[in-house]
Symmetry: C2
Subunit: 325 residues, 2 copies
DNA sequence: TTCACTTTTGGGAGCGGTTCCAATATCTAT
DNA sequence: ATAGATATTGGAACCGCTCCCAAAAGTGAA
């Protein structure tokens, strides 16, 4: 079934059918009715690719995400998908892992597919130059790539700062910061904020750093060994909630009481937190707002409207059961 | 940049360029080199939509998923995406919620987009007739829709059966089955298996059922009240791990010891389990295998190869810390 | 050199829409 | 009734690629 057959069925020309379908150009009520009836009768679906060939836009949005195991990303994707759909955009999902090659491979693929825009979720620091991708509007989430690429971030610096401040308020003196990567913008900013806050402390503070591959397979061993070697640690800031969960589990095994003996603060505000005991104190990121703003921004950019190149959304400390204050 | 400009640059006809691009038809070495050089020099990217208009296929796969908060789905999507990419298919991700209208809306959209195939992840029981979608090959995962639609499922019946058997082995006499929905095939089969196993018990068993909306906002209250009203329960089977986590959290609040006083078994084998205490005993589903088989099956179906219409993958009981046996 | 055969090539008609343009129909005011 | 303006319509070119087909070029044996 194509537009010519519909035209024949309705007894009009295909130009007229096209006008009815795309709702522009004037069509008499009579013709319009005939066309609509013919479409009804024949279960006709216009071919979007023929249209794309004429128009310049595909109404496709690429989303490149490092992984979707960490629930942070699915939540954001869900929000992006929702906002995009409202505006008649479809999502092409690309899961890149954390290698720069793979990110570029997907960007190439999306460029080939003529997506109208792409949202880079948490790109690695390897991505600095996107000038080769001319057909698509690109924005980044949770990382600042360069001044030409609009970005949406929650305030990682403040998040790190808040975490350290709260550990200090809780009277911790031997503070451990655990993180799994150092090639994401988020980690770097968070660390800066964290260290800035520590350096404001009146008392003398011992700061420890554990930076390692903390995937579940290796993480337990590494963290367990670290606590064995540093029994004096009385405050922990984990770069994400999964790491914090591992810490809590290990402290439980070691019969170290939380929050009496050690305070623990996570990051992300994983939706699982309220389901487990003890409920983790953490830094909450406005995931939905970030996702929504990302979708809106990239679509505005596609439509050549003005967009803010710097968007920093606020974070908040959520006290639960692994800290006293 | 289009194929004609490349042809001009290379000093050949666009037919020849097309032959080089699509690697079929014979082209002399000399022409081929000229064309390749012209493409190199000009950063030309063939327009896939012009190709789609001639060929019949889009190399697009739809994936319709009820939600992506539950980590079960992201894990599966990741696997599907991976397998699809290897075979040069791209994924259109659609998040439908659990309403049948939305599932049909997305199916319509995918039909309009001329996707080659669609994978329905865990469709609701409302979906029974897919005959209106003629252009795409459709399969379902975690549900049997009808005998025309190939399906990939893990063995829910056995999963339910196993869970009940294990609770009986653990000497539970007052067994509670908690589930959040009853409009998914998975829930129905699981319940059948569960009840079949219970009915084989030698001793007299009290079986309780809690079937309700157990989203996190309401779930805690409902479960808490249920335990208050039924203090004799000594074994729990939760339809998924998230519900089981809520149960564990509540039992902890009530100072009821697990597994001494109550045994708990979950379902899914959520990757978070090893990170929290006590680690949940659960029924493990082969998520990756299901995802991989789904991708392979739908692509085989697209290519008109024979596919099995019934695929049931095995599940296994994983004993951790919330049961004794 | 010539003929028969194979390889390579370019022209042109689609694929299914959109859109420009000129032609025709309809309407308004005189 | 008629000129002039406006609304509606169909024809045809075009978007960028594929692929059929016939022509041209290349090959080898007689």
């Amino acid at each position: 079934m194509n537009i010519s057959e519909i035209a024949e069925l309705a007894g009009v020309s295909k130009s007229t059918v096209s006008r009815v379908l795309s709702k522009n150009g004037s069509v008499s009520v009579k013709s319009k009715e005939k066309v609509l009836k013919a479409i009804q009768d024949s279960n006709y679906r216009p071919n979007p690719y023929a249209r794309i060939l004429n128009k310049k836009s595909t109404n496709l949005l690429g989303v490149i995400v490092p992984d979707i195991a960490n629930p942070y990303f699915p939540q954001m994707i869900q929000e992006i998908e929702h906002e995009a759909n409202i505006r008649n955009y479809k999502i092409i999902l690309c899961i890149s892992g954390t290698t720069a090659e793979s990110e570029f491979e997907y960007l190439d693929m999306l460029e080939n597919m003529c997506v109208d825009g792409t949202i880079l979720l948490c790109p690695t620091a390897h991505i600095t130059d996107l000038s080769a991708y001319e057909r698509q509007s690109i924005i980044s989430v949770d990382a600042v790539i360069n001044e030409n690429i609009p970005s949406i971030c929650s305030d990682f610096y403040k998040g790190g700062y808040l975490a350290a401040s709260k550990l200090l308020e809780n009277n911790c003196k031997n503070i451990l910061h655990i993180s799994g990567h150092n090639y994401f913008y988020a980690n770097i900013k968070r660390r800066q904020g964290f260290e800035a806050a520590i350096s404001t402390a009146m008392d003398s503070i011992n700061k420890y750093d554990l930076l390692s591959d903390l995937s579940m397979s290796k993480g337990f061993k590494i963290i367990r060994e670290y606590f064995a070697a540093h029994p004096n640690v009385d405050g922990v800031f984990a770069d994400n909630d999964s790491i914090a969960f591992m810490v809590l589990r290990i402290l439980n095994e070691l019969h170290i009481r939380v929050p009496d003996q050690i305070k623990v603060i996570g990051y992300d505000d994983n939706f699982m937190i309220p389901m487990v005991y003890p409920a983790l104190s953490t830094i909450h990121q406005p995931i939905s707002e970030v996702g929504r703003l990302a979708a809106i921004t990239v679509i505005n950019m596609i439509n050549r409207q003005k967009v803010n190149h710097v968007n920093i959304l606020d974070v908040a400390y959520i006290k639960r059961e692994t800290t006293l204050l």
